[in-house]
Each structure stands twice: as C-alpha cells, then as structure tokens.
Subunit: 295 residues, 2 copies
C-alpha cells in the first residue's frame, strides 16, 4: 500500500520537528523527509540520526516537491518562515505548525498566505520535554498526548481531516477548537505554570543561601521546577505571543496566593486546611486529558 | 547478631511512620514494632500489612518497653503526643520525629520534656508521596533521600549518632543543621512550592472554564501540580508552623514574578529570554541532593 504522503518538508529539525518526522515514518505515512534548519549542524545531526533523508538548503527548497509540510520553528519565526515558502503553498499540500500559541500563528498565516491560507492547518501537540534539540527526538513523543487543531473559517475541511488522521496515526487524541479558546486555555494550564516556575526559581537563585537551599531540595521541588529548565527562546516567544492571556491568568493566580497568605498570616488553620483540601481532592481526581478514555 | 533495637514504639502509622517501620525491619535493625494510631482502623491495617506486630491502645503503651520511638504525627500534634508519653521518656531510649518543620517541634520538646529533652533527636526525612496513609507505606521511601537531623545543645550526642546510623541503614544521606537553618531552607525549597501549587490550582478551579482547561492540561501541568494533591492536615500544620519563613519566601517570589510580568507587559523579548535562560541553565544543572555523590 502506498504511503499517505510522498514527501515531508520539515522546516526546523529540533525536538518537535524531529519527533514528528520519526513518528510519521514509523506510522508508515511518508516515503521520505527533506529537512531544513537554520543551523547546518542540526540538519547534519538529523540526517545522521535518520530523522531526515535529505538536507534542504532553504525552507523553500524543503517545501519543493512536498505533499506535507511541517513548520517546527519558534512561534516568533512563523511569519518569516511563511514568507520564505509562500510561493510554494498550494491547495493540495497539507501545511501545519506545532506552535504552543495559535492566535499569533493564525494571524501570521492570514497576513502572509492571504487567499492561500486554507492550506494551513494550525496544530499544537501537547507534548514536549524540558530538553530541546534533535538529539532528544522521539517517535513516541505524541503518543497518548492531546493534539489541538485550530482551523479558521477559510481552512480546507479536507486538510483538517487529513491532519487529524496524521496525528491519530501517531497515537495522539485530536481536539478541534478556535485559536482564541486555545490560547486562553493554554495560558491557564501551561504558560502560567512556566511563568511561575521561572519566577520561583529566580527567587531562589537571588538568595545568598541558594546553593545550600538547592542542595537540600527533594522530589517535590524536582517536579515543581522541571518546566523551569525549558528552552528560553521558545518560551520567550510563547509568553510574549500570548502575554495578554498569561497576564490575566497571573493576576488571578496572585489573587489566590494573596488569600492563602492572609490565611497564613492570620494563623487560620481551619480555613487553610479547607482551602488545601479542595485543591488536593481536585488534583487527586485529575487525569491527563488524552489518557482518561483509556483508564 | 542481635538487632540494634529490640522494640520500636511507633506513634502514628501513616505513610511516614509505616515506611519507617518497614525500612527499620528490612534493615534488620529491630525485632518488633508496637504501633499506636488515633484511628483503630489504621493500626488494624498496619498490622495486617506487617508494618507493626502489635497494636498499642495508647501512645504511652506504644512507648512502654521500646528502645526506639518514632513520632510520626502531624507536626501540630507533637506537643500533645509528647505530653502523653513524657513519663516514659528515658535517656537510653532514642526518640525521633519525622516532622517537616523543626523549630516548632523543638520548642514543643523543650517545653514538654524539660530536662529529658536530650533523648529527643529531631529528624526530617526529605521523602514523601502526594499519597498519604499506611497503604502507601514503602520500605524504600527513605532510600537515596536526604534526612536532616536538627539536634539542640541539650541533645545527647550518642543518640544523634545512633539516629544517624538508623537513617543511613535505610539508605538516607544524613545532614545535621540547626532547627532555624532547617526551617528557613525548607520554606524556600519545599513549603513555598506547596503554597504556590495550592494557589495556582485554586486559581484554575475558580474559573468557569476550569473543566475544559483541566481536560487540556499536559505533562508540564501534571508535574508542576503534583504536590497540590498533598495531605491537607499535614500541610496546614507545616505552613502554619513555619508561616514566618514561608511568608518571607512568598514575598520574594512575588517580587520575581512582578519583574517577569513587567517584562512581558512591556513586550521585552530579549530581557525575558535572558531571565529564562539563567533559570533554565541553573535548573538543568541541578541534581537532587542525596543523589549527587552517586553521579
């Protein structure tokens, strides 16, 4: 049986792009992968690892001849990347991204692709590691994870369906939402936790006892701060792109923190216990989205 | 060879106490364990599981005949528990607790035990789970974890050494510090993260979209909020007991958050990236205390 796609044009060969290429290959959905990356050493490594079959000298050359294209670049680079490839955007080719914010990506796609925007299916796989780089690429990265598609009115429904099949074939559970609902939700459940982890770790580092403190930290600290090790360029872009929603969520968080601080300052044990009990129960019952149906 | 101890008197048969009993048995350090718990169903379960060999009808009866005693009760119950057993506190018996705060525990011990306070070696194993209860007790809970001892001037040095041997036999790496230094450090690396996780999760639950939000949350959220599922009574006591240090740390955190929020509001990508880069590098190089020497 012929593969669904003849050629993947991969723009950006980092953790996400590399994992997508590996997963697409492993699912038997693609015959070959042509990859472009800003850094030649990255594409070289990707080729050595079998993530891509051939190196493209430019983003445009990566798209040439492809029937599926993945933009896996920091979200702030979406605009310039789309500009570089727009002449080869065609209605029968599936274009996707993997950005963690969607309003800015959709805005860039509308602005740059104009009447060809229908070929672009914005995607956000809820997967990742605190480690970046193609050396951590993993064909199973998207398995048992959610992937959100945020098509707009102009998006070709057949390409949305094709995109859905691709992510499902990689083991993802696919949801469709608007870019706005996506960005509001991920400000709450992903972007704010990153901001808080960055702020918390900064607060520790600023103390003269930070080394002794860090030497004493245990498993709770380890898990709470895991996301503080995330890639700075990627998170700069995400937080800046979605700053309005993130700041709204942060304000809400500060309100909740203030209540807890007041209860503590007033030494109100019962109120504190009741507050913590509600949270503790809710967190104990929570299960990761894509996994609930298997449990 | 005879075991180091003939009888452990265990007061409080939850996760920590139960794990201590199992670990002490597994290390071959004790011949039998007599356990007391406020709830008869807990001691019954502990006996069925082989965590304790015999049920004591009171804390005092658990201490009777023991040559090692562990108080594994919520820190706020330390005072009343010590009062219940003080008549059997003797200089040749090792008394320890496992509380996550130490100044309040030491204060209670001074107040209640008076001239017998030297028998009490305050201990804090940096181990735990977000699950409580004897059913989660685990002989390996303290393995490859730090345990902090916080003796005071009056503490018998021979008992401190005995305590050290006990924890080392369970696989712990033991450090000695003052109760004050302990509480300041753990406010920073443990108590504040719990407070922030509680506040963050509260902020999510307060939103009308919380269910949709929670259904979309991924692995970053999972790890960041794991400690939000912690036991409400235990964390009420810890946060109240150490509230001064916790509130100091929280203020410092709010300062760091404010800087990040300002940078975001001003859309200063470069400053944001520089801040995140510093944190990300520091977190990437961090390793959990007790493990560093094995790596």
């Amino acid at each position: 049986m012929a593969a669904m796609f003849k050629q993947l044009g991969l723009i950006g060969c980092g953790l996400m792009g590399g994992s997508f290429a590996l997963a697409l290959k492993q699912a038997g959905l693609v015959e070959r992968v042509i990859g472009y990356s800003k850094s030649p050493s990255t594409t070289e490594k990707a080729k050595q690892m079998g993530v891509i079959d051939q190196v493209a000298e430019s983003a445009l050359l990566a798209v040439s001849g492809a029937d599926i294209v993945l933009l896996a670049v920091p979200v702030a680079a979406t605009d310039s990347t789309l500009r570089a490839i727009r002449h080869l955007v065609a209605p029968n080719v599936l274009f996707m991204d993997v950005g963690s914010t969607k309003r800015d990506v959709v805005d860039a796609a509308r602005r740059v692709l104009k009447d060809k925007v229908g070929a672009f299916v914005p995607a956000h796989p809820i997967a990742g590691k605190e480690l970046s780089g193609v050396q951590h690429a993993d064909a199973l990265l998207f398995k048992d994870r959610l992937t959100i598609l945020t098509p707009i009115t102009q998006t070709d429904p057949e390409l949305v369906e094709k995109a859905r099949l691709v992510w499902v074939a990689m083991g993802s559970d696919v949801r469709v939402m608007t870019p706005e609902a996506h960005d509001a939700a991920f400000a709450a459940v992903s972007h704010l936790p990153h901001l808080l982890a960055f702020a918390y770790f900064t607060g520790i580092l600023q103390q003269k006892e930070s080394e002794q403190f860090l030497a004493l930290a245990g498993p709770g600290f380890r898990d709470f701060t895991r996301i503080a090790a995330s890639d700075p360029a990627i998170w700069r872009d995400i937080l800046i792109a979605n700053r309005e929603e993130v700041l709204k969520q942060s304000e809400r968080f500060r309100g909740a923190l203030q209540v807890l601080e007041q209860v503590l300052a007033d030494c109100k044990g019962e109120s504190l216990e009741a507050l913590v009990r509600g949270v503790s129960q809710a967190r104990s019952h929570w299960r990761m989205g894509a996994l609930t149906r298997h449990q």
